[in-house]
């Protein structure tokens, strides 16, 4: 009984002392300490992954934050995050900005602020070749995705009869697909393409043309951190104008890569 009482007291204590990290002026803070701390993916080519030779994190997301840091005149410190950990990390002040394939949506926008979209893709599936032609084929099947992602919520809504298995990150879900533990892996097409390109047995898999949602990616910042959000938005719009944004896209997804993706979007101010 005593233990329960103590527990209740601890919880009450937590209740009183809890205060979410305040959105100060990140822009000023970052300039002062000379480092921009970025939450990024570390095993999701080509957005953010460890380069085998240099042992450093590189990718599309990384190039964007590098450009922002360069404009600020500060260094970049990269912190690997997962889909589930990135928002708490930001709110608690462990990181200053999220550049981790994060979809902008209304639910998240209640808790954090987003930049304009810097990448656009849509949620699709990756499956064994020829096994899936329409959403119907996935009913009642086991589908893998990542914890805390929009993909998880979208697929649960799109195919209610499916069993959704959430892994820590997408490559693990794909590994489960390769081993036959799930029938499909679902997330944004660009991520799927990245995984497929790296897969050792890519010939056996395909991405059928079934899209269940649009996924615009935004850089995440603390709620109400207006100066910083404005600065980031201004920077990425300039990058679009100068052609730098397009160059980054071409570098990671263009014809010289394994992906051959068309750039179907331009970074523009949201309405």
């Amino acid at each position: 009984m005593k233990k329960l009482v103590t527990l209740c007291m601890m919880v009450a204590l937590a209740t009183i002392t809890v205060k979410a990290a305040q959105a100060g002026d990140t822009l000023a803070d970052v300039k002062k300490k000379g480092v921009l701390t970025v939450g990024c993916k570390d095993s999701l080519p080509p957005f953010g992954y460890i380069d085998e030779k240099s042992r450093q994190i590189v990718g599309y997301d990384i190039d964007f934050v590098n450009a922002i840091a360069k404009k600020l005149g500060v260094k970049v410190e990269l912190k690997p995050v997962t889909s589930a950990s990135r928002m708490p990390q930001l709110q608690e002040g462990h990181i200053d900005i999220i550049a981790a394939t994060m979809t902008k949506n209304a639910e998240r926008a209640k808790v954090i602020d987003f930049s304009h979209a810097y990448f656009l893709t849509g949620q699709k599936f990756i499956t064994k070749k020829g096994s899936v032609n329409s959403l119907k084929d996935l009913e009642g099947k086991r589908i893998g995705t990542a914890k805390g992602s929009t993909s998880e919520k979208n697929v649960a809504a799109a195919i209610p009869s499916a069993t959704i298995l959430s892994f820590d990150d997408y490559p693990q879900a794909f590994l489960a697909l390769m081993q036959g533990k799930v029938s499909a892996v679902t997330t944004d097409e660009a991520i799927l393409a990245g995984i497929l390109a790296k897969a050792p047995t890519k010939g056996q898999f395909e991405i059928p043309n079934i899209q269940i949602s649009d996924e615009p990616y935004g850089l995440g910042m603390r709620k109400g951190d207006t100066n910083f959000v404005n600065f980031v938005n201004k920077t990425i719009l300039e990058m679009e104008k100068s052609g730098e944004a397009k160059a980054i896209f071409e570098k990671w997804f263009g014809p010289t890569t394994q992906f051959h993706l068309e750039r179907t979007f331009k970074i523009s101010a949201d309405k």
């Binding site: 005593k2 979410a20 690997p80 590994l175 897969a199």
Partner: protein, 232 residues
Amino acid sequence: MEQLFNISVITDNFTYFMIGRFPHGPLGGVGLTLYLAVASCILSFIGGLILGLLSVSRFPAVRYPALAFINLVRGMPLLMVIFWMYFLLPALFGKIPENNTVILALSLFTSAYMSRIIVAGIDGIPKGQTEAATSTGLKSWQVMYYIILPQALRNMIPSFVNQFVSLIKDTSLAFIVGVSELTHVATQINNRTMAFPTEIFAFIAIIYFILCFAFTTLSRWLEQRLSWSKAI
């Protein structure tokens, strides 16, 4: 999958397994695993000593809260403790790097177990010694500090080494909050290469085994040595 085992994934990434992105980035891999384990071990020894002494205090107002806290922590899975620290620490103290969050979570968790070892060690010293020391006019804290603790701590050394082994194993949970210790590094490499999970996880299992077994053996050796010198 064509061949049975392919160890090139291990040899190609060996440096990464051992030290992560160091020296051009933060320390990772085995290096970080050991750093986390050693730092947590030192802190949890101090924490365990404090909690242990509080829990054998003569004053109920001190003893019961300490016992309640110890049991609270012992009743939780370590994973839960890590999640809690992850939430609570920043709310209470502001920004704290993940490495430290994990170290604090491991220390808090292990302190609760250490405190039990310390209490057992204190109980293991014959009551007669306390009585004899008290009758020479020493105060009760002096009896504890000069007479009981030095003997008790020496007898507890093997148990401490065992706790250290548990800590090495427990650091693998740091993976969950994205700290690049050995298990996290292994999942990174597994996620990138995708074809060699058997090799990668068997390899890190062996690394952990070598680390832990070395210390387990040390603990047994100490136990024998100590019991031998006690017999004399």
